[in-house]
Amino acid sequence: MDIGLILMQLFNGVVVGAVYILIAVGLTIVFGMLNVINFAHGAVYALGAYIAFTLATLIGSWTGSFWLAVALAPFVVALLGALVEVFLLRRMYDAAHEYQILLTFGVTLVIQDLIIMIWGPIGKSLPMPPQLVGVVELGDFTFPLYRVFLIGFVALLCLAVWLLIERTSYGAVIRAGTDNRDMVNCLGIDIYKTFTIVFSFGVGLAGLAGALSLPERGAQPFMGDTILTLCFVVVVMGGLGSFVGAILGGLIVGVVESMMILFWPPGTMIAIFTAMALIILIKPKGLLGFR
């Protein structure tokens, strides 16, 4: 097979992986801190795309609209996330895992139906921002500019999040909370406030992922369903609660997906979910997990 085609698919795999990473990082941070797996994360991703769409059209089609939408949408989503955490999730911390899953699953139903109610069942799309139309030429290869931008942006963002978690005193609270939240609470830090912030931050990242996918994939009410299960694969692969694991997992799943599409398309999803089942069974802590 043509080596150029393989390299091209490798690049596309990284692009797909970048979106998975954004969603999975939120999923894994929330799990690490709150010990809750958020089944509504996929619906939030869709919501992010729709909110970005509305913001972009509201502000008009002037050139900066896409940027403003991308910048604002995650905050709107994060605010909604904070409300969900304070009013719903907080009641569930003492409950069994099963009930937390059921609660966030119920939130998914509500979000998806609200989306259909507000924006209609047919998807929305937004033209590519004019600054990002075009290609980057690198030797014999041409890469769509938007995809190059996406990789760079996600890489920078991951670096920023990593610095935030590893190098700031606030990150220290998050890390400590992931290790032992009762102890953090005993040390006089308001753990519930931290929970709210971490949850809305994670949800905001999913919203950002939705906003960033808008120009290429558009927005559909149920776009989060498949991607959520794929991001479960990502976090399980990397290790639940592990930030670097989510990045690694996202890259692996993205690249495997695009390579399978090249070599044997029908087996793509089957391969990915088989891999997930095998990892849970053989190495449940994942590649870099600790729980």
Partner: protein, 335 residues
């Protein structure tokens, strides 16, 4: 409510196969086609109710949340569909195939899934459901892929040579489903209200203690999974007969989540709760969807309210009211 010892409540003994409870259930369910606007809905409700009750054997009685029951239901549906389509068998043979198919799938899925607990169990069952879905989706020659398995025949029920019971009209088919539903419920009740069933509940309440007492909890979990798969597969087979086809949606994750919705709204802690849930959810989806297309929003909100405030579901609510009206003795719930 005061807690009684197992011997006092009689829960440690096997429930009788047929008693007043069975007749009340059979009679109540028989009212469905009378009160519902169309008869086909009644059969569909019973099929889903059987699926939800089977699902609840795991969540409500053993404490395992499975997102994989869509796969069991779908395998049952495809098995019946393929048997009847290509081998032209007796409908009961097709359904037996569905039950066996559901059982075998549950055996494999269960054997692997019960290796992990909690979140990882949920994720494993979810992965298996996705595997089954994408498998069915891609294997077009066998399953018809996206279009579904079309033209599944619904042959008449031949009891013996010369005597054939037609199950073509919606009322005839409802009665056919009704008989199988009641038989299944009697069997499931016998399993759950037996010493075996009490061990399952013990595993749900405190797995470590159940283990310490000396039960092989892995074996119990697996048997519960297989029994659940058997009846879910049967429900899937009935669905194939009902639809006269197998849509790809039968094996989707949404089927799993349907069972979860029904069980939780109806009541996890009781045997009959999921039936109430199936009635409510299916009527809501058929009737309300014509009035207001966004009824799912209401369902989602109801679901959240139930998760937070009423984990016993509607059934617990009904038994509470029943207990007020008739304080002598409340209906016995599963736990």
């Amino acid at each position: 409510m005061e807690r009684k010892g197992i011997l006092e409540t009689g829960l440690g003994r096997r429930a009788p196969l047929l008693d007043k409870e069975t007749w009340i259930l059979a009679g109540a369910v028989l009212l469905l086609p009378v009160v519902l606007p169309y008869k086909t809905l009644a059969a569909e409700i019973l099929i889903y109710a059987l699926g939800a009750v089977s699902f609840n054997i795991l969540l409500g009685f053993t404490g395992m949340l499975s997102f994989g029951h869509g796969a069991l239901f779908g395998v049952g549906a495809y098995t019946t569909g393929l048997l009847l389509k290509h081998l032209c068998w007796h409908p009961l043979a097709g359904l037996l195939g569905a039950a066996m198919g559901g059982m075998m799938t549950a055996l494999v899925m269960g054997l692997l899934s019960i290796q992990r607990i909690g979140l990882y169990f949920v994720m494993l069952t979810l992965a298996f459901n996705q595997l089954a879905f994408f498998g069915a989706y891609q294997w077009k020659q066998l399953t018809g892929g996206d279009d579904g398995l079309l033209n599944v025949p619904r042959p008449d029920l031949s009891i013996m040579p010369g005597l054939e019971l037609p199950i073509q009209s919606s009322l005839q088919f409802f009665l056919f489903v009704w008989v199988l539903f009641i038989v299944s419920m009697v069997l499931i009740r016998r399993v759950l209200r037996s010493p075996f069933g009490r061990v399952l509940v013990a595993i749900k309440e405190n797995p470590d203690r159940a283990k310490a007492v000396g039960y092989n909890i892995q074996r119990y979990k697996l048997i519960a999974f297989v029994i659940s798969g058997l009846f879910t597969g049967l429900a899937g087979g009935l669905y194939a007969l009902f639809m006269r086809m197998v849509p790809i949606t039968a094996i989707e994750l949404f089927t799993s989540t349907d069972f979860i919705l029904m069980s939780l709204i109806g009541g996890l802690g009781s045997l009959y709760g999921p039936i109430v849930g199936a009635v409510i959810v299916k009527i809501a989806s058929e009737v309300l969807s014509q009035i207001w297309p966004r009824w799912l929003l209401v369902l989602g909100l109801t679901f959240i309210v139930f998760v937070i405030f009423m984990r016993g579901g509607l059934w617990a609510f009904l038994t509470m009211i029943w207990g007020r009206v008739k304080p002598r003795r409340g209906l016995e719930v599963g736990r």
